[in-house]
């Protein structure tokens, strides 16, 4: 019962905040804050409780909630929680709290509608991470899309409408392809078993002919590749990220991209194991291209938010690389990457938003030497740039290291190229520090103030967590151990014939 409550709290909180803003803007902000905080404390309690359970039992599912919804199509409101969803939920609510806090001063008009949208995006994301019914999954997939469109389109920067448009069209088009694939799967399953159901666990066992599996998988892949984003499907991302208000960028980079990665792990691999193996070399190649291309683009940007946006393209390449390596180590790395990238990039966007509030530009050519005036902000920025370039001791290093170790077993050549990406990451991360906080002082900005208490409340916990993840990643790895193992097993234990066919094609899969 606790699972739907998590979503209901957010949706109800959103409506309440929208209504409350009629009387008081502050009320809307406080209601939103408490709604997200309530969810955060709930999942943290769940996590602490689940610690023993996860290691002891063999089943990866901690909680399960099912309620029939549209009986005519066998659609049920089915939510379930395992280690992976739990971690993603924690990330969602952790960043969600900061998204509310960071907007405290930044958003000054239509405050009620803003918080309504903010909480509904979070509700959609939480739904995506929890649902075990494919129709419901598509439903939540769209629920997180529309409020996001409003967030960018109403409260964004100068070019907001174009960015919001592009974001909407890209994600909607790919989402519809996924819907087609879901329906295809639904009817094929119904034909085989006579049971009309969109339930994930029902559909898992569907046996498909190779061609059909390939097409259906491509439908799913389209949606996730755009969201992630994988290299040729990324053009929406720099615009959306740079034009969104800070809270929007935070949620986009920290959470929305993770839904793509989550979809790959949760749906693409288990539902279409042999088709995934078939496409793996190409997927990994695209991942590597993404890593290098994103890094290169990031290095050449002058708009700070755009720069950070391109680093996401680069970092998400590692996700693609790791997921399609089909081994536990890489998959652990991917999960770590999802969390640490959410934190580090989210923090960088918060810093960029803070700078924009102070100097009203995102152009890094007009910045420089800010360390002297804002040492605290400089320090935090240093930590997260280092995280972004993968410095040992910080979370991102663990993630990328695990991913590379795993993918080496699958494809050494591509792994070597991916490693070059780390060098490029150093270049762009240092460039941020150099241009903004070091170097000659930009003269026109005299009255720069260091981080306010509110900003410290946001950034200090993030710093602590990213260091904690770098030093003690074991709790995270333990939490997702069983789900990751099952996903990897689902691809390797499938009919021997499919693996043989890969061998003949010269795959280096073990």
């Amino acid at each position: 019962m606790i699972l739907p409550v998590l979503i209901i709290i957010l949706m109800a909180g959103g409506i309440l905040a929208g209504l409350a803003s009629k009387w008081s803007a502050a009320a809307a902000r406080w209601i939103s804050l408490f709604a997200v905080l309530a969810d955060l404390s709930l999942v943290i309690v769940l996590w602490i409780e689940s610690g023993a359970k996860l290691v002891a039992t063999n089943s990866s599912w901690l909680l399960d909630y099912q309620f029939p919804w549209i009986k005519e199509f066998g659609i049920s409101f089915h939510l379930a929680l395992d280690g992976l969803s739990l971690l993603m939920l924690m990330l969602t609510f952790f960043l969600g709290v900061f998204a509310v806090l960071i907007s405290w001063k930044e958003i000054q008009y239509k405050i009620g509608f803003f918080h309504f949208n903010l909480l509904w995006v979070l509700a959609g994301i939480a739904g995506v991470f929890l649902t075990m019914d494919l129709f419901l999954f598509y439903f939540f997939w769209e629920v997180m899309l529309i409020p996001m469109y409003f967030l960018i389109g109403i409260w964004g920067h100068e070019n907001k409408q174009y960015a919001a448009f592009k974001f909407f069209l890209f994600t909607q088009a790919s989402g519809l392809l996924m819907l087609l694939a879901i329906l295809g799967l639904f009817f094929i399953h119904a034909e085989q078993s006579g049971i009309y159901s969109f339930d994930y666990f029902q559909l898992l066992g569907t046996s498909l002919s190779p061609t059909l599996a390939r097409w259906l998988m491509l439908g799913f892949l389209a949606a996730f590749a755009v969201k992630l984003p994988v290299f040729p499907f990324h053009p929406w991302l720099p615009d959306a990220h740079s034009q969104a208000p800070t809270a929007g960028s935070l949620i986009l980079a920290g959470l929305l991209l993770k839904t793509g990665a989550y979809g790959l792990i949760r749906f693409v691999l288990p539902l279409f194991p042999s088709a995934s193996i078939e496409i793996a070399p190409w997927a990994m190649l695209l991942g590597v291209i993404g890593i290098l291309y994103g890094a290169m683009q990031a290095f050449s940007q002058t708009d700070l938010k755009r720069l950070i946006a391109y680093t996401s393209v680069s970092h998400m390449g590692f996700v693609m690389l790791g997921v399609f390596a089909f081994n536990e180590v890489a998959m652990q790395g991917v999960v770590m990457q999802m969390i640490t990238h959410g934190l580090s990039t989210g923090a960088l966007f918060i810093l960029a938003g803070g700078l924009y509030e102070r100097i009203h530009t995102r152009d890094i050519l007009q910045m420089g030497g800010f360390w002297k005036k804002m040492p605290f902000m400089g320090f935090i920025a240093m930590v997260f740039s280092m995280a972004s370039l993968g410095l040992p001791g910080l979370g991102n290093f663990v993630a990328e290291f695990l991913t590379l170790v795993g993918s080496w077993q699958a494809n050494p050549t591509l792994t070597i190229f991916a490693t070059i990406g780390l060098v490029a990451a150093t270049a762009y991360s240092l460039r941020i520090m150099q241009k903004v906080f070091l170097g000659p002082e930009a003269l026109q900005h005299h009255d720069l103030q260091d981080l306010s208490v509110r900003e410290k409340i946001i950034l200090v916990p993030m710093t602590v967590v990213i260091i904690w993840l770098g030093l003690f990643p074991q709790p995270i790895i333990n939490t997702v151990k069983t789900p990751v193992k099952q996903v990897v097993e689902s691809t390797t234990q499938k009919p021997v014939s499919s693996i043989q066919s890969v061998d003949m094609k010269g795959g280096t899969h073990e």
Partner: protein
Amino acid sequence: MSKADLICLVPLWILSSAAILIFFSVSVKRNHKVIFLITVLSFIADFIWLVSYSIKPEHQQTIEPLLVFDGFGLFNIGLILLTSLIVAMMSYAYFEQREERKEEYYILLILAALGACILVISKHFVSLFLGLEILSVSLYALIAYLRTRERSDEAGIKYLILAAFSSAFLLFGMALIYAVTGSMEFTEIGNWLKASGHEMPLMMMAGFGLLIVGVGFKLGVVPFHMWTPDVYEGAPAPVTAFIATASKGGMIALLVRFFHAIHGFQFESMVGIFAALAIASMFIGNFLALRQNNVKRILAYSSIAHLGYLLVAFLAGGELGIEAVSFYLVAYFVTTLGSFGILAYLSDKERDAELLEDYRGLLWSRPLTAVAFSAMLLSLAGIPLTAGFIGKFYVVAAGVESNLWLLVLILVINSVIGLYYYIKIMAIMFDKKSEVRTAEELHPLVYLMSSFTLAILTIMLIWLGINPSGMMELIKGIL
């Protein structure tokens, strides 16, 4: 005609007597309020009779050889009655602020509804033509009702000529089919076709071809769509809402009945023609909508595309196909009525709020209206949480089940193209604007009716999107 037959016809009696009652009432005294009340009450009474009496299986019967009162027909009558009721409710404020004589409008509206009702229960060419002409003739007058406006006249004449033209096609087609089969009754024609095997004589083929032209005109599918944007633009907003919903929906319902009676799905050539019409409507409707800056015209082109989506469900056939058509009609009716309702609500004395510019900054001047309109647009675009999504889902599901992959894929591509112009309207509403067009305000009570109607439509839209089970069960049970 037996007594049972007469009782069966009560839904039609109520409508025709309401028209006559208003007729007399006008001759005594012109009073907008009273006449409005009679109209609304007669629609409500009719609907109550329908759901409390006619719907019971023992009361469903056929009136040989013209009419058939079955679940499908009654469902569509109910839909048409509710639609007309809503159109009437949003007409009050709209006509209250206009100079013209308002009273005859309601007579015409009731007659148009009557025509559409006959259309959806006819099983014979004669009753089909009768219903169609009652509907069309009322529409000629309704479209040109605001005759001081130039465009209203133009639209009326355009519709008159084209509709008369298409009726001629329809008649000729019927004549040819009658000449071959010797019958004008749908099932008889079906039997004849079955007996003759799969070969269709040329004359029969020509007859069906002419029928398709006539039907195509009424539906406004490409390539018979030319009248749609002009008529939508020229007609008063509530009338446009009626044309977009009851008139087109009635025709679709008739098409479904006819096609099933003659087992049309076995003729590949006919299925092919409808598939071509669907594809052309989807693409051309959506593409032409992209460059418009008149909201009525955008909605007109979008309705062409939506008829294309409906044809996909129609072509899917089978039980799921009919269910999909019915559900999509409900969703589309709610959405279209809502959009035109908002358009009528925002219109002022001189002209309808039809330019995109009229909507700039609506979120700031009238937040609730803007949110409701966004919900309508999102529903037209088929985004979850709205009725439009479930409708589109139903259509796609029906298409996938019947393996119409090409059509479904084209539908998906078109949904994305369609998004572009729906979002464009939304983006303009969210744009900040310093100056807001202020309409001359009437007494607030006048707007209460419109606001109430719009609120109900918005709630229905979201309710159908969140909990469609009830409606699905209703449709399943009735068919």
